[in-house]
Amino acid sequence: MGKMILIGENMNIMTKKYGKAMRERDAKTIQELAIKEKELGMDYIDLNIGPAGRIGEELMEWIVKTVQEVVDLPCALDTSNIAAIEAGLKVHKGRALINSISARPDRMEALLPIAKKYDADFVGLLWGPEGMPRDENERGALAAELMFRASELGIPNERMWIDPIVTPVNVQQNQVIACYEFMKMFQDIAPGCKSTCGLSNVSNGAPEHLRPILNQTYLIMLKNNGMMSAIVDCFDEDLKKIAWGERPDIEELVMKVCNDEDIDPSSLNEEELKYYKTARVLLGKTLYSDSWLEL
């Protein structure tokens, strides 16, 4: 099983430490994290500077330069601020990843030409003019719309990383299933496209100590249906093991649950049982509750 491309999510203005470092242009703190992310195996460093208003251009330019001064990794430019994205692309070495371009006409019109101009990759976020897609088919339609608009500008599918939008399992289980079902048809709908996801959103709102098992199990489900990448916490060692194919035993078990194969829960050890129960919740076979592992 292949290795996924990992995008480190830790450089985020919403966090206390790095928010402060960004505001104070504290290069040392930013660079330490960048080096750490590389050491921990990240393939991209996400630079989430928030909407950033009128200082966005200067901040993005500064942070891209600061990070790339010490690591030779590409960055994901994570902001809704169009001018800031362009400012980052101007100084970025190598091929950057724009995070993100949603399937809304105004965003596509503004950002696709920029992606083309700088030959950048971009996350194609399946968020449409009417907001969140309701099921896998609406995701498919939004993906097609993004591909169509990109190809009109001569941007090949290879530049686009589709993000099918991961949602919390405790809000709408059917959306978790829809995102998974979309991945099953993704390769046929969008040949050549890459894919990525904000994985940890699946466990948003669940008890903190139970979030890892949800994230890991869902990663297995998505990965085995062609998900190529995920935005992750660079310190999450268990998750990385799965992303890098170092837990084939667990992957096999989860996929058996996904494929409706007969499994006798009493034959499973404690760890396996957790993945088994979690997969059943993520597949909607069991209704979610915070105590799902205890049932």
């Binding site: 209704l287 979610y288 509750s289 049932l295």
Partner: protein
């Protein structure tokens, strides 16, 4: 080959839960199909109407239309409950402990519990006792009620995630029924049942309150939550949700502007009494179709309409 309609395959059933003791005790639940789908399964216990009583005179909060049937007894909760039973044939009484509300009259828990006790002693049908969803006050009031109503197997609620330990323990100790209340969310409803079970409350002693809205005020959200509870229980074998459903809807309907406004102020909305009754009836019918087992009703005319509806839906002809 003749036409065969598709039938749902049910793998679970709803547990039977009894409220009250003796001949007039009421058992709800037990169905093996979606509500009224008698062509697919059984509904051994009909859904029930609970007559609403307050522990205080509602005063100006109620419009003339909802005051009228009980205007002679609104200050006396026990007489009010008796009137429901003797004149309007109520088989269940739901007393709302409105006077305990810390943001309202804030009557001390002991006094509120005494009123409840008087009602419980005056009637021979089962009693549902409902607080104001203020955790601290509900704990005080419902603990006291649990003690005073020992042996009567009343239903106590709302029992929420924030106070289930205290009220759940009192219900457990005095063998009452728990009205497990969650905020319009099937996952949270399930979680609360699990927590109550962990506390020692058996599922046979729990009735679920999904928190409902009145017609035009988010009714469809609660409707779909009840549907999902029943789907999980009946076709997904989710044993934590195989419980009857309680809908405290009367207050939600009658507090709305559309129910309260007089005909003089809004002539295009028509007769106020008829309007309020129909809004209450439509809300109750909707929840019954979604899967409710107990509906709390304020107006006796609504109550008789709903009883007739249930009877018609359950008749074999």
């Amino acid at each position: 080959m003749s036409y065969q309609p598709t039938k749902t395959k049910y793998s679970g059933s709803i547990k039977e839960v009894r409220i009250g003791e003796g001949d007039k005790a009421v058992t709800v639940g037990g169905k093996t199909c979606y509500s009224f789908y008698l062509f697919e399964g059984e509904m051994p216990n009909p859904p029930r109407v609970a007559g609403e009583v307050w522990d205080m005179d509602p005063g100006e909060e109620w419009s003339p239309a909802d005051r009228e049937p009980f205007k002679d007894v609104l200050g006396d909760s026990a007489a009010w409950a008796k009137k429901w039973i003797d004149e309007y044939g109520a088989e269940l009484i739901a007393i709302q402990c409105k006077s305990s509300d810390p943001n309202g009259a804030d009557r001390p828990a002991d006094e509120v519990a005494d009123v409840v006790k008087k009602v419980a002693d005056a009637i021979d049908v089962p009693l549902i006792v409902w607080g104001t969803a203020n955790h601290d006050k509900d704990v005080e009031v419902l603990r006291k009620v649990a003690e005073l109503c020992d042996g009567k197997r009343v239903m106590l609620g709302p029992v929420e995630e924030g106070d289930y330990k205290q009220i759940g323990a009192a219900a457990l100790g005095y063998k009452h029924v728990v009205g497990a209340s969650s905020p319009i969310d099937v996952n949270l409803a399930k979680q609360l049942n699990i927590l109550l079970e962990n506390l020692g409350v058996q599922l046979e002693n729990i009735i679920m309150d999904p928190t409902v809205g009145g017609l035009g005020y988010g009714m469809e959200y609660a409707y779909s939550v009840i549907e999902r509870m029943n789907m999980a229980a009946l076709v997904q074998e989710d044993d934590k949700l195989q419980l009857p459903v309680f809908c405290n809807l009367a207050h939600e309907v009658w507090k709305t502007k559309e129910a309260k406004i007089s005909e003089e102020e809004a002539p295009n909305l028509g007769n106020q009494e008829k309007r309020g009754i129909l809004m209450e009836a439509v809300t109750a019918v909707d929840y019954l179709l979604a899967g409710a087992d107990i509906v709390v009703i304020r107006h006796p005319t609504t109550a008789s309409l709903i009883k007739k509806f249930i009877e018609d839906m359950l008749s074999k002809s």
